[in-house]
């Protein structure tokens, strides 16, 4: 109980004093996660829409695979990305290992199936409603996808938030490919892991509370921007 209180106190002072290390780590966490989620959305939303409207031979297998990939173990993703980006790997010449870019790549791989799967589910239901109308209006495939993505935007916002939630709290993959290097690739989760291993529980807890606060704040902000619940019937 004492450590939780110390953690809360530490978190309070870290925030109130705008501790430079905390600000740097927090901004890097946000940068890595938001970039990864944005890239994942750009890939996953059209993929989810395409899977909802396109009929092809192995569609069910692809959807089952996509759903299975939602449970990808981050550590394994981290290991594979590490092998690809390490000096001896096929993309070693790009010098991306132990950089925020490598962390973004790993997070994109982790959250894309999650967002695509939720998006597919939401868009498939909408497609069942819109199918005859859009065919009747001679909408092209691209127009159908754009219409479905726009009209399912609130459900897709939830998909993006689920992706954000998974990415912001991810530690295994980013630790492997980022290396948790101070002032280079240290983010909130890897910093918490480091402080815990050093036995610095108060600081680890403090960082943990900041992480939770950050996740809640971003969620609330996106809900506010998306006007979710204000036009609940849409």
């Amino acid at each position: 109980m004492g450590e939780i209180w110390q953690g809360l106190t530490a978190a309070f002072w870290l925030i109130v004093t705008l501790d430079s290390d905390l600000v740097e780590i927090t901004l890097r966490s946000l940068y890595v996660t938001l970039t990864a989620v944005a890239i994942a959305c750009a890939l996953a939303l059209p993929l989810g829409a395409w899977l909802a409207i396109q009929r092809f031979r192995y569609r069910r297998i692809v959807i089952a695979l996509l759903n299975a990939l939602m449970g990808l173990p981050p550590v394994v993703v981290g290991l594979i990305v590490y092998l690809f980006l390490s000096r001896q790997g096929p993309f070693g010449a790009l010098n991306l290992i132990f950089t925020p870019t490598a962390m973004i790549i790993a997070q994109v791989i982790i959250v894309t199936p999650l967002i695509a799967s939720i998006a597919h589910q939401a868009i498939r239901e909408l497609w069942a409603d819109y199918h005859d109308l859009l065919i009747s209006l001679n909408a092209t495939k691209r127009q159908r996808m754009a219409t479905l993505i726009w009209d399912a935007r609130r459900a897709l916002l939830t998909a993006a938030l689920a992706g954000f939630g998974r990415a912001i709290g991810e530690v295994g993959a980013v630790m492997i490919v980022g290396g948790n290097i101070d002032h280079v690739s240290r983010i909130l989760t890897t910093a918490i892991a480091l402080e815990t291993s050093k036995g610095n529980f108060a600081l680890a807890l403090g960082l943990g509370f900041v992480l939770i606060g950050l996740a809640i704040a971003v969620n609330l902000m996106i809900h506010g921007l998306g006007r979710t619940e204000r036009e609940g019937t849409w």
């Binding site: 909408l126 409603d129 819109y130 005859d132 109308l133 065919i135 009747s136 209006l137 001679n138 909408a139 127009q143 219409t147 009209d151 399912a152 036009e231 019937t233 849409w234």
Partner: protein, 237 residues
């Protein structure tokens, strides 16, 4: 503008899972009037409309418009029994077909406002379409179908589940639309409505065209016992 009518349907059939839903059907639609398709449940009325509009794939036969199919499809519109509304405002719902076909958003919205006024939805322009009543949704669907000024308008029981007032409002719009030269092909269960709107009647029975004749002649003296029983309100299976 090239006329897509007359339409000629020859030996057209729609089959699903080995079962014939409609056909074989032979019929011709000329350029004027309102054709009402009537018949008991399961006769294939909806499938017939879907077939003519290209929503149901032909198993055999032909549906030949006066112009190539792709061109003809852009000059038709369809209003479904359960109105489909997009999760947008009333105005954006009505403007949607124009935007799909490259009309500038501002121009599409301006024309949508005109059409909303014509169907009595001027007050609801900015409301989310999903919160409209059943009658209002159907009026929205009509405005959205008519905004591209189709040559042929298909309607699948557009007043099913609507009250008398909404039905009358929809019928008024349809009368006006037909008077402006749009060819209407519509299904209904309502014999009174068929008598009010039809210039021609197709009586569909077990997937086949049992009778296709001028409305007056049909209601005065149907040629088949099934049609006579249906008009009388007897149960026809």
């Amino acid at each position: 503008m090239t006329a897509i009518l007359p339409l000629s349907v020859h030996a057209a059939q729609v089959r699903r899972r080995g079962k014939t839903i409609v056909g074989p059907i032979d019929l011709d639609l000329d350029t004027q009037g309102t054709t009402i398709v009537i018949g008991p449940n399961g006769a294939g009325k909806t499938t017939l409309l879907h077939m003519l509009h290209g929503l149901a794939r032909l198993s055999q036969g032909t549906v030949a418009w006066n112009t190539p199919t792709q061109d003809a499809q852009t000059k038709q519109a369809f209003v479904f029994q359960a109105p489909v509304v997009l999760r947008r405002s009333v105005r954006d719902n009505i403007a949607y077909p124009l935007i799909l076909h490259g009309v500038l958003k501002s121009e599409a919205r301006r024309r949508a406002e005109d059409w909303a006024a014509r169907v009595g939805l001027a007050e609801a322009l900015k409301r989310p379409a999903t919160v409209l009543s059943g009658g209002e949704k159907q009026k929205l669907a009509l405005a959205r179908a008519l905004i591209r000024e189709p040559q042929v308008l298909f309607l699948d029981e557009p007043t099913a589940n609507l009250d008398g007032r909404s039905t009358r409002e929809i019928e008024t719009i349809l009368h006006r639309t037909a008077a402006e030269g749009t060819r209407i092909v519509m299904t209904t269960h309502n014999i009174g409505q068929a008598q009010r709107l039809a210039s021609e009647v197709i009586f569909l029975y077990r997937g086949r065209v049992h009778e296709m004749t001028r409305a007056e002649a049909f209601f005065k003296g149907p040629r088949t016992p099934e049609a006579a029983a249906f008009i009388k309100g007897d149960i026809v299976e």
